[in-house]
Assembly symmetry: C2
Homo-oligomer: 192 residues x 2
């Protein structure tokens, strides 16, 4: 008998293939992230316009982008580089929300997840299929959540005045100085 579980409104199989198409593979971090989004959405309720904050740059942003209307480019998801496995969905009007995190104490009951997360198992010793099975089995039992009030990182980022860089001729924010950061020698590229 197949599992009847749904995550973010999808069967587990569809949930996994949605992740694979976007992220390139069924990374355990995105799969767990999907369970986190699912739990947060249930607490927030279907009628609330929710924005998102994620506390890590890897994996979690893709779970948010796949299973909520929030994306990096539309500004409804903010990413904080804290390297913590946690995310918050919050009502964009009241700033009340729910923070969900992977609970270290709880995942002690699921050694595969614990060992993967704490990097205690050498890569290759824990096949992806086995780990995903443990994640499916654990489901929400690996997570904790708490109500929060968001006090930072919300809302639109206001842009300052822009001008035309006297060196490259591209538009840039005047706050960067007389010419753009790239032309100030801080660029990530060299022209050939």
């Amino acid at each position: 008998m197949r599992s009847q579980m749904t995550v973010c409104g999808r069967s587990f199989e569809d949930f996994l293939s949605t992740i694979e198409r976007f992220h390139g593979c069924t990374a355990p971090g995105v799969v767990i992230g999907g369970f986190m989004v699912d739990l947060a959405q249930e607490h927030i309720g279907p009628d609330v316009e929710a924005d998102a904050i994620v506390e890590a740059t890897h994996c979690l942003p893709d779970a948010i982008q796949l299973f909520t209307p929030c994306t990096y480019g539309n500004g409804w998801m903010k990413v904080i580089d804290w390297d913590k496995f946690a995310l918050t969905l919050y009502n964009k009007k009241t700033l009340e929300g729910v923070r969900v995190w992977l609970d270290l104490e709880k995942i002690r009951l699921f050694p595969n997840i614990y060992n993967w997360y704490m990097r205690l198992t050498p890569k290759g010793d824990l096949p992806l299929g086995v780990l995903l099975k443990s994640i499916e089995e654990a489901g929400r039992r690996m997570l904790s959540c708490a109500p929060v009030q968001v006090v930072q990182y919300y809302g639109k980022i206001r842009k300052g005045k822009s001008g035309v860089c006297s060196k490259c001729g591209e538009a840039y924010p005047l706050s960067q100085g007389d010419c753009c950061l790239s032309c100030q020698g801080k660029s990530y590229f060299k022209t050939k």
Copy 2:
């Protein structure tokens, strides 16, 4: 007669609806971003594994995430907060790539695009449909590109050692100090 143009391998209509589904609307910035990705991909060629760097936090990251395998969460796309309308796709092995940007001189020929980009038209005076028509008409003629060598922001970000925060009990990078940044009072939320 309908336009036969394709962008990123799709008809213009499919291209627009793909953007709307992910981003929430057919934002002009994502539409132009799609044309930029299309041009960059042609220069890079189909056989090269390319990573991406975008120079703005708004709109452009979604064009990359929709039309390349690079996402924020898989680490193949890096975002630099320069507020410049430019992106680079580059060969992840050789670091050679192509940078594409919205060329201010070229868009003078397309006043709707110029006025929108330079924020010279009050919101509401330029209907979205009219602007999108101008963008479709301009296509690649609004863009410039140049070969570049990437010298920063490439590759995987190595994570340092992590430990368990003595206050909240969550995993965190030990480089943050004795407890995690959140427990140091730098959090974006208050618990209730």
